[in-house]
């Protein structure tokens, strides 16, 4: 699975912003310390939140958490 990498500054800019007028971006931290958004957020963005950004595609490497808590 692939996701789109963000810089910390980009992450801060997206928090609280919608990508389609309804759904909010959810920048998430991966196991390598990279911030990312999903390809769904990237490709379905109809606002100008990502205007001019060419976000690199990286492998999804989720933070491993203990299940269940």
């Amino acid at each position: 699975m692939k996701v789109r990498q963000l810089t910390t500054q980009q992450k801060d800019q997206l928090v609280g912003q919608t990508y389609d007028g309804v759904q909010f971006f959810n920048p998430t931290l991966d196991a390598d310390g990279n911030w990312f958004i999903s390809n769904e957020e990237y490709f379905n963005c109809t606002t100008d939140a990502l205007f001019g950004w060419n976000l690199p595609e990286i492998d999804y490497n989720p933070v491993i958490v203990e299940f269940p808590i």
Partner: protein, 267 residues
């Protein structure tokens, strides 16, 4: 408007619906006649079974768009106090419901169990249209020092896992992650798991003395304010409310499955 068995019936465009159904149809801008009928039948079925008043939040995920899927059938106002969903991350919305992407997507219900739910009577349900075993939670909230609510429809080990205000996880093997999964605390000392019309486990479990005091999420967990265990299971319905008797749980499944069948998305 006329009076009928289920209360005041609203008439719109020559078709009469239950007033609560009509309020949702209007708020969520449901224009498709099949979807309107499905909602109306769901509401009247729940009222006939005396389940309607036990519900705090009903998310029928009908209409096909994120904006329409935000509405709570029980209280279709556009305010947090009505548990009007707020979607985050890359969810996909279609005629089949809400598909969280397993990486960033979830829905914030705005429902805080500590202020809304009863310690000794609660249920949570998730109608899954995706057959996958994964390390994800479909409904969950936990705050340190409080008890936990969590539902794992089908974990990587093939089990349905759930807790409602207790520390011991109910663990039951399920053949797939398809269908209506309901975790139920009908009283202070009992925990039950239901899948479709079956009670798949029942155990003695005493409620803790506390309830989580932050928002419950759907499609992932809310672990002390941090998302946890993103799900990729498409949901065609979800509910939060009081505990259900066995008969009520069976009638609840029948009503939900009838609703899904009408919409052609039953599993």
């Amino acid at each position: 408007m006329i009076l009928a068995n289920h209360g005041i019936i609203a008439s719109s465009g020559g078709v009469s619906f239950d007033a609560d159904a009509q309020a949702f149809i209007t708020a969520a801008a449901i224009t498709d006649s099949t979807q309107q009928t499905a909602i109306n039948t769901l509401v009247t079925d729940l009222k006939t079974a005396n389940i309607w008043t036990k519900m705090k939040a009903l998310y029928p995920f009908v209409g096909g768009t994120a904006a329409q899927h935000r509405f709570n059938l029980k209280d279709p106002r556009t305010v947090n106090a009505a548990f009007y969903l707020e979607f985050f991350g890359g969810g996909t919305h279609s005629a089949n419901g809400y598909l969280p992407n397993g990486t960033t997507a979830f829905a914030d219900t705005k429902l805080v169990p500590n202020t809304i739910l009863q310690l000794n009577s609660s249920h949570f349900s998730y109608y899954s249209r995706t057959n996958v075993s994964e390390s994800s939670t479909e409904m969950m909230v936990y705050t340190s020092g409080q008890s936990i609510i969590d539902l794992y429809v089908r974990f990587t080990d093939g089990n349905m896992l759930s807790r409602i205000y207790n520390t011991t996880t109910s663990t039951t093997s399920v053949p797939s992650s398809l269908g209506l999964f309901l975790m139920n605390r009908p009283d202070a000392n009992t925990i039950k798991q239901h899948r479709n019309s079956d009670i798949i486990s029942s155990s003695s479990s005493t409620s803790a003395s506390t309830k989580p005091n932050i928002n419950l999420y759907i499609g992932s967990g809310n672990n002390n304010g941090t998302t946890y265990g993103f799900s990729s299971k498409e949901s065609a319905f979800s509910s939060i409310g009081d505990g259900l008797t066995d008969t009520e749980a069976a009638n609840f499944y029948t009503a939900v499955q009838t609703y899904q069948t009408t919409l052609g998305r039953q599993v």
